[in-house]
Structures are given as C-alpha cells and as structure tokens.
C-alpha cells in the first residue's frame, strides 16, 4: 500500500493517498448497499406492519411485523456500529438491550419489543442512513471517476481497453453535461488533470459523508444521553463506595498499627514501672526513668497519631470555610505557596472537603515530585457557579495521570461529584492542574 508519508508534498495533494481517506471511502462503499438495502427492507416492514396494525383484522400480524422491524433495526445498528469501529476507528457503545421481562407470555414480550425505545432510535438511524448512503455512493463515484480518467493514456495504449475506433470516453462526476470523448493519444492526456482534480476532491467528499454518519450514529445508535448518564453514575457510585471502604480499611489499619500499639506499650510500661516500684529492694532509678521516658514517648506518639488521623478525616479548620482551611494548608507547605481564594458563597460541605483534600494531595505531589521552588494555589467561583481550583508549580513537569496513580485516584474522587480534573505538565514544566467542582454535591 502507498504510505501516507510522502514528504515534501502539500497535505492537500497527499489526501487521496492517506490510509484514513481510503478507509473512509471503503466505509462509504460498504455502507451504501447495507444502508440502502437495510433501509428499504425496514421501510417495507414498517409500512406493512403499520398497515396491518391499523386494519382491525391483521392487528396481531401487524404488531409482529413491527416487532420484527425493531429487531431488524437493532441488528442493522450493530452491523453499522461494527463497520464504523473497524473502518473509522470510532467505537460506539451499544444501546441498552431490550429489558427482558420473563413470565409475560408472547403478548408481553411483543409489547416490550414494540415499546423498546432504543430500538426505535435505531430504526430512526437506519431510515436516516438511506439518503446518506446515496450520498456515500456518489462520493465513492468521484474516486472511480478520478482513477478512470487518470488511467486514460494507459487505456489508449492497451488496444483491448481502447475498444473500437469511436474514440475513448472520459467521465465527469457531474450528473449532467455528458461525457467527453477523445480521439487521439494527445487527447487522452487531457484526462490526466481531469482525473487528478476529481481524485483530489473525492477524499473530502467521502470524509464529509463518513463524518455525518458518525454524528448520526452517535446521536441515534449509542446508548442515549440518559443511559450514558446512568452508566456514568453507576461507575462513579462504585468508585465512591470503593473509596470509602478503602478509607475505612486504611483507618482501621492505621489505628491498629499506630495508636493501639502505642497504648498497649504504654500500659505495659506502666505495669513494669509498678513492678519495679513494688519490689522489696529499692528500685534502680535509672531503669525506672527509662521506662517512664518510654511510656511518655508512647503516649505522645499515640496522641500525635490520633491527631493526624482525625485531621485526615476532617480538618477542623474546614468548618471556618475553604479560605481559612487552604490558608492553613499552604502555610504548612515546605514549598512557598502563593494563595488566592475568591469563592464567594460557600459551597456545600462535601464539596469543600473534596476541594481541600484535592489541594492537599496536589501540594503533596508538588513537594514530593516536582522539585518546584514555588507554587500557586487558587480557588475561584466562575460565572456558572463552578468552583475552580488551580495548583501550579514551576517544577520539572512531566506529571502524568496513570491508572492506580495519585492523579488518577484524585480524578476519580472528583468524578463522584461530577467534577473534572485536567493536567497540563509538559516536560520541563510548568505543571498546571485544574479541578472544576460543582457548588453542590
């Protein structure tokens, strides 16, 4: 196959040689008979079905035909989706399946088929595809005409292609004006620019048709906005549940390995001290002091661990609002941070908490990974009510959101409240992470 990389040739001239253009042309070519045939078959079924359904005598037969039409539309939709995926690289999620309703009998199932909303959207697609398929055929014709004319000198040179002496026909892609006929080899050379010109236009036409088809598919073949939303919510709900379960597990582990051990050790030290003090002979003051020091150390460590844990659950300063909480957070940062907060009316507590922990984690990233000398944090309320957080640093950049990574975890947490997270971090920096959160969860 001719590769797309012909250097030094303008992009416009390379268009007919690009693999993508060919794939789009093949999509138009294969889609045309499928689109036209499918649509005709479906329209016949629909017309028959409607006709019978409206006539009282054949109502059941009519409904059966309509149900058959919806099933056909689903099948055709699946083929079109597969074709688009294979050739155009655009995979469209399948529409939700017709809900199975067991125990309803034949009539119940028929009813479910006929009320199958997503299937009717596929019917809509198959019907709308009909004119598009015709356009696609016409666009493919440009490719054929282009090659046909371009090959005119060759056709002249090969006797059995030239045919009789009535001259060599050239084609125009226009449906009117007739076809020019040439009678000399010099005349066939006229076909070369004509063919090349048509061939340069052809890819744009097939692309336009393919694009329109993709739009149509996204609108009618996909799961639909509501179903997308449901899937999105299911996914983010699962994330939120996993997240809180993981938080509880971490909390239990931290308590078990931290404060609880410290307190057990403290209690043991106290009983050891008690043992030393109640011995018959006078106790060794140094040994007792060591134990007391150890006990105090464990008590202090337990307090510190409990404080860190409770602050990790909910920083008390957050009760005074995001501005104070972010100020206290950035003050503790080891990298100097310039903070601007202008959030206006307070967001809901859940949003404030998420915002706080986002900034905390992003700042931790800055300190740990970026090597930055300074950072800025801003929180502002945008005109549409969105709370926008932005953390920038002048570090080495190259921050990537990878699965199971910190940024990805943050993105998922933000998604649970319909927020978004964007990372811009070219190699060499600077890194900008912006998080948009709705004002209410």
């Amino acid at each position: 196959m001719i590769t797309a990389r012909v250097s030094g040739v303008p992009a416009v001239l390379r268009m007919p040689l690009r693999r993508r253009s060919w794939r789009e042309a093949i999509h138009c070519l294969l889609g045309a008979p499928l689109g036209i045939g499918g649509a005709v078959l479906l329209l016949v079924l629909l017309a028959l079905g409607l006709g019978f359904a409206l006539s009282l005598l054949g109502a059941v037969l009519g409904l059966l035909l309509l149900a058959l039409a919806t099933a056909l539309a689903r099948g055709l939709g699946a083929v079109h989706r597969a074709l688009a995926g294979r050739l155009l690289g655009i995979w469209i999620a399948p529409a939700p399946a017709c809900p199975a309703q067991p125990g309803l009998g034949v009539l119940g199932r028929l009813d479910a088929r006929i009320r199958d909303g997503p299937a009717w959207r596929q019917v809509g697609y198959v019907v709308a595809k009909l004119p598009l398929a015709v356009c696609g055929m016409y666009a493919v014709l440009f490719w054929v005409v282009g090659v046909f004319n371009l090959a005119a000198p060759v056709r002249w040179a090969v006797p059995w292609l030239r045919g009789d002496d009535s001259g060599l026909m050239l084609l125009t892609p226009l449906p009117f004006g007739g076809s020019p006929v040439v009678h000399s080899f010099a005349g066939t050379l006229f076909g070369v620019p004509l063919g090349a010109g048509v061939l340069l236009v052809a890819p744009w036409l097939t692309r336009a048709v393919a694009r329109a088809d993709v739009r149509l598919m996204q609108a009618l073949l996909g799961p639909g906005a509501l179903a997308e939303r449901v899937r999105d919510l299911e996914e983010t709900r699962a994330l939120a549940v996993d997240d809180s379960a993981a938080l509880l597990r971490r909390l239990e582990r931290d308590l078990h390995d931290g404060a609880q051990v410290r307190l057990v050790t403290l209690a043991l030290s106290l009983d050891m001290i008690r043992g030393k003090l109640s011995e018959e002979r006078p106790p060794d003051p140094q040994a007792v002091l060591r134990l007391v020091d150890g006990a105090r150390e464990n008590a202090t460590a337990a307090l510190a661990e409990l404080r860190d844990l409770s602050r990790g659950l909910h920083p008390p300063v957050l009760d005074d609002g995001l501005a104070d909480a972010l100020a206290s957070l950035t003050e503790r940062s080891s990298v100097p941070v310039e903070l601007t907060v202008d959030v206006g009316e307070r967001p809901s507590p859940a949003i404030e908490t998420i915002a706080y922990f986002c900034v905390a984690e992003l700042l931790t990233n800055v300190i740990k990974h970026s090597g930055a000398a300074r950072a800025t944090v801003s929180a502002e309320r945008r005109a549409d009510g969105t709370l926008r957080l932005r953390v920038t640093d002048d570090g080495r950049g190259g921050a990537r959101s990878r699965p199971e990574g910190g940024l990805d975890g943050l993105r998922q947490r933000v998604r649970t409240v319909d927020g978004t997270l964007d990372v811009t971090s070219p190699e060499g920096g600077p890194t900008v992470v912006s998080v948009d959160l709705p004002p209410h969860a």
Partner: protein
C-alpha cells in the same frame, strides 16, 4: 524458661523482650514476621512462643496460621497468641486440634504482667489460657448442647474459668469461695456433661472443649 516473641510492631516487641527478660525468661529470639517465627522456633525449640495474630505480609491471620503449624510440627512448644480483637473463628481454628498448649489473649492483657506471665507459664506447661473475653464470646456464639442448659449459673461460671485455663485454687480465689466448693461445682459439671470419672485433667480439657465447641 525459653521463649520466642513474634510481634511486628517494634516498640511493643522490644518492651515485651525487656519485660520477659526482667522476669527471668530466656528470650531466644524476637521477630517481626511469621517466616522468621517458624525459623526461630525450629532453630531454638523454645518452651513457648508469644505470637501476634496480625503480622505481615497481609496483616490478617498470619500469626494464627504459623501457630497452628507450630503446634502440629512441634507439639511440645506452647503458643500464646495475642491480638487486639477477639475473633471466635480464630479460636475455633486454634482449638480444632485440642486445647493443650495454646492460649489466646487480648493484647491489652500484657499490661497485667502477672496474669500474662502466668498464662505464658500455663501454655508452656501444656495447659490452656483463654482470654475471659474469648470465653464469653465463644460461649455466647456457639450453639449449646442440651446438657449445657442443665448447668446452674454458678457451675457455668466455674466452667468458663476452667476454659480460661485456671486451676481449682485460682478459681476459688477469683470467686471468693473455698477450694472445696469449687471442687463440688467441678464434680457437678463433670456429672452433668456425662464425663466419666478418670484422670481429672483429661476430664477438665474435655469439659472445656465441650463448652467451647458446642
């Protein structure tokens, strides 16, 4: 008496070491994970091992599994498990091969050194040491055999202390009654549970197992 300690938290491990050392125990090894525990027990053949249930790598029941292995391979080694929670499931697994030479205490019991070391001694001697909390939970959780219902409250009290691994004298002390009274209760328990008169200690173990397993 020779002891091996397995506890993953270093602060507690060191203090346990010091405490047992102070009290005249010979601590052969103090380790932080189950593999090191198995190696240490095989190498030193201690009289008893003090084992934390939750240890790396998964921090679930590594200690328990190591304890069961040790009991199976070296039955002369007593194992005293300790943990911050009482899990009846763990005890049932531990007692599946009999109650001799095993113990299970809540971690905070180490703060009462006298109790802790007496439990350790009992386990090393092939006895039992179950935390009162463990006994209560087990007794409450299990499905009771019909004969358990025939015990009086006092007899059940005596039996649960037997389950903790205490001697008649210790039970008498704890219940503030005479040793004779305790013996009477114990005999009544054996009778009601249908345990024939034979070697006293064996009957004790059987009664306890009946009490805990049913």
């Amino acid at each position: 008496m020779r002891v091996v300690i397995a506890e993953d938290a270093a602060v507690l491990r060191e203090l346990l070491f010091q405490m047992l050392d102070d009290r005249g125990y010979e601590v052969c090894a103090a380790v932080g994970d189950p593999d090191a525990l198995r190696a240490a027990v095989t190498r030193h053949r201690p009289d008893a091992a003090v084992v934390d249930i939750r240890m790396p790598p998964t921090h679930t029941d590594e200690g328990l599994r190591a304890a069961i292995d040790i009991r199976r391979e070296l039955p002369d080694t007593g194992v005293l498990l300790f943990s911050q929670y009482v899990e009846t499931k763990y005890v049932t697994r531990l007692l599946a091969d009999g109650s001799a030479g095993v113990g299970y205490l809540l971690k905070e019991r180490v703060a009462n050194i006298a109790e802790f070391t007496s439990a350790l001694d009992r386990v090393a001697d092939g006895g039992t040491a179950l935390d009162p909390e463990v006994v209560t939970r087990l007794a409450a959780a299990g499905r009771k055999a019909a004969e358990m219902d025939t015990l009086t409250a006092r007899e059940r009290d005596v039996l649960s202390r037997m389950a903790e691994g205490r001697s008649n004298a210790a039970i008498a002390d704890a219940l503030h009654v005479s040793a004779g009274t305790v013996e009477k209760h114990v005999a009544a328990v054996f009778g009601k549970l249908g345990l024939p008169a034979s070697d006293d200690d064996n009957r004790r173990v059987l009664a306890v197992l009946k009490f805990l397993r049913d």
